[in-house]
């Protein structure tokens, strides 16, 4: 928990809570000021390896203890101390956005694009935010919990257009 204490004193407004998990420390942060915190972690504390960046949708999650619907989860790793740190930023449903960290890691570019693609979380400051896995004209965000599970391909707009075109041709 040493890192949490340090972060808490350095960024009192940003850090919300922290706890120890099986594989490393978890620190929950606020959106505002998060960029400074992670930049400090990268430049001063040696967390140079961004392993993962992903979104989680907590709609209807039973054991939930917080209000916001989404969470953006960062896994960063310190090579010298062999320390894994999980950072979480909670994002409310009404204005789903988060600051982009592409200025720190180019790697985050596609992670953020994927997060936007799957959850509709907008990353402010991202140079090229568009869908990556789904088609560019896809509607809806597939990994959200309220996304229809048994939808048919007929619901996809380009497919309908294609069928129409085909019918007209005979």
């Amino acid at each position: 928990m040493a890192l949490y204490e340090e972060l808490k004193t350095k960024f009192p407004e940003v850090v919300k809570e922290g706890f120890q998990e099986v594989d490393g420390e978890v620190v929950v942060c606020n959106r505002e000021g998060f960029l400074d915190l992670i930049a400090w972690l990268k430049q001063e504390k040696g967390f140079i390896h961004l392993i993962d960046l992903c979104g989680v949708d907590y709609l209807g999650y039973k054991p939930k203890t917080f209000e916001e619907r989404f969470e953006v989860v960062y896994h960063v790793f310190n090579l010298d101390e062999r320390k894994l740190l999980r950072l979480k930023v909670r994002v409310p449903e009404e204005d789903p956005w988060q600051y982009s960290i592409t200025s720190l890691w180019k790697e985050a570019n596609w992670f953020e694009r994927e997060c936007f693609d799957m959850f509709g979380i907008v990353f402010k400051g991202h140079p090229d935010l568009r869908r990556v896995l789904m088609p560019e004209d896809w509607k809806g965000y597939p990994l959200r919990k309220d996304y229809p599970l048994f939808s048919e391909e007929e619901d996809w707009e380009p497919y309908k257009v294609l069928v129409e075109k085909y019918k007209r041709r005979g």
């Binding site: 594989d23 992903c54 989860v73 896995l133």
Partner: protein, 409 residues
């Protein structure tokens, strides 16, 4: 904005004589290793701009996993990087074991180490084959496939499948090795180093090979971290970061091996690193085989490991499907697995493969996130190809060792 849209915009108000040369490489192309599409802006043969477009093999594995129980998701993991599926199985199992707080028997750990190193050899052989073929050396291709075939046959003896094994279970492995398998593996381990020497004599001193790989796509150590390169691509840049050493899992803490690193971070160094890794993997398998005899007769699956058919209907289906949103799942009160989250990463042959799982207590994961190396590596292609030629692009795709099943999930 996407390059495709930009092009449409640019072409409207421009003199057609100044128009750059655009080339749409893929999704059907012999050397994009699957259905990768690269939209290239060329100046002569030099690449000015490159926009990789993926998603043609997107099967929604993360979404599917949310509606399957923990053991069933391991079947999905085979389909990620289908060349080294045993390694993917291990990654999933490790994350779930952390969540369930399961202790894996030592014999199972050793067996897992063996199969994941076999997967590494399989994957690296296929990489060498296709990389050499992309650069134009045809013969290496078939030599590598010949030896990969041997390993696939061993896999078939182990679990009955050649590509999609589903051999690893949460809490261990499905069944023990037969004595014949161990004998065959010993034979393989003895013979394989000679084969590696064979490949190296074919291409290592070949001047054309050196010309095509030296100083191509040079990535410095700092840049490699910035781009998120992991695995052999990162080690080729001189960083000795290996998950097997930094966060040991399975039996890697008890075996000896070296982590090879390159110096210049060019395509040749990455090639060299992988060739050394082949030898190291061989050595690891040999050590594990020796240790297997110590654990003769032990269980290979933890006793309290979850049943294959985890209790059904824990997340209840809502009676009336929502008119617009379809069927919704609701969790019931009963807890089957601990609530919480777990993160596990392994050194897969292609790079760092990590699994992050969030549980709500039901038999199905609430969220399963897979970070695949190919996804990140493809995102690095535009940065690495700038200023190179089309022929180099093919070499760069080869050296990054991407599999589209891995990146699209």
């Amino acid at each position: 904005m996407s390059l495709v849209l930009e092009v449409n915009k640019k072409q409207k108000g421009k003199d057609s004589w100044e128009e750059p040369f655009y080339l749409n490489m893929g999704p059907q192309h012999p050397s994009t290793h699957g259905v990768l599409r690269l939209f290239l802006e060329l100046e002569g043969e030099t690449i000015v701009n490159c926009d990789p477009i993926i998603g043609y093999l997107h099967r929604g594995i993360e979404k599917l996993a949310e509606n399957l129980n923990y053991n069933q998701t391991i079947v999905l993991s085979d389909r990620l990087d289908y060349i080294s599926s045993a390694a993917n199985n291990v990654a999933f199992a490790l994350a779930f074991e952390k969540l369930f707080k399961l202790e894996v028997p030592r014999r199972a750990k050793l067996i897992r180490t063996i199969v994941s190193e076999m997967a590494r050899i399989c994957s690296h052989l296929l990489w060498l084959a296709t990389h050499a073929l992309d650069i134009g050396a045809m013969t290496v291709f078939l030599y590598c496939f010949r030896d990969r075939e041997w390993l696939l046959n061993i896999y078939e003896r182990i679990c009955g499948a050649r590509l999609t094994h589903t051999y690893v279970r949460v809490g261990g492995v499905r069944r023990d090795f037969e004595p014949e398998v161990i004998e065959e593996l010993y034979r393989f381990v003895e013979e394989f180093p000679k084969r590696i020497t064979d490949y190296e004599t074919l291409i290592d001193t070949n001047r054309i090979w050196l010309k095509r790989t030296k100083n191509i796509a040079v990535v410095s150590a700092e840049e490699a971290f910035n781009l998120g390169l992991t695995g052999p691509c990162l080690r080729g840049s001189g960083v000795s970061y290996d998950v097997r050493k930094f966060r040991p899992y399975d039996a890697y803490s008890e075996v000896e091996f070296e982590v090879p690193v390159g110096q210049n971070g060019d395509t040749y160094d990455r090639y060299k690193v992988r060739m050394i890794e082949l030898r190291q993997s061989n050595w690891i398998i040999k050590q594990c085989l020796d240790k297997l005899s110590e654990t003769e007769g032990e269980l290979v699956l933890a006793e309290n490991s979850p049943d294959l058919l985890m209790p059904e209907k824990v997340r209840e289906v809502s009676a009336q499907p929502h008119p617009k949103l379809g069927v919704m799942f609701k969790p019931k009160e009963k807890e089957i697995v601990p609530v919480g989250e777990a993160f596990a990463s392994i050194e897969s042959p292609k790079g760092e493969l990590s699994v992050y799982v969030v549980s709500d207590g039901s038999s199905r994961p609430w969220r399963l996130r897979i970070r695949t190396p190919s996804f990140v590596h493809i995102s690095a292609i535009p940065h690495m190809t700038k200023g190179h030629m089309i022929a180099d692009l093919v070499a760069i795709i080869g050296t990054l060792d991407i599999v589209l099943g891995d990146s699209d999930r």
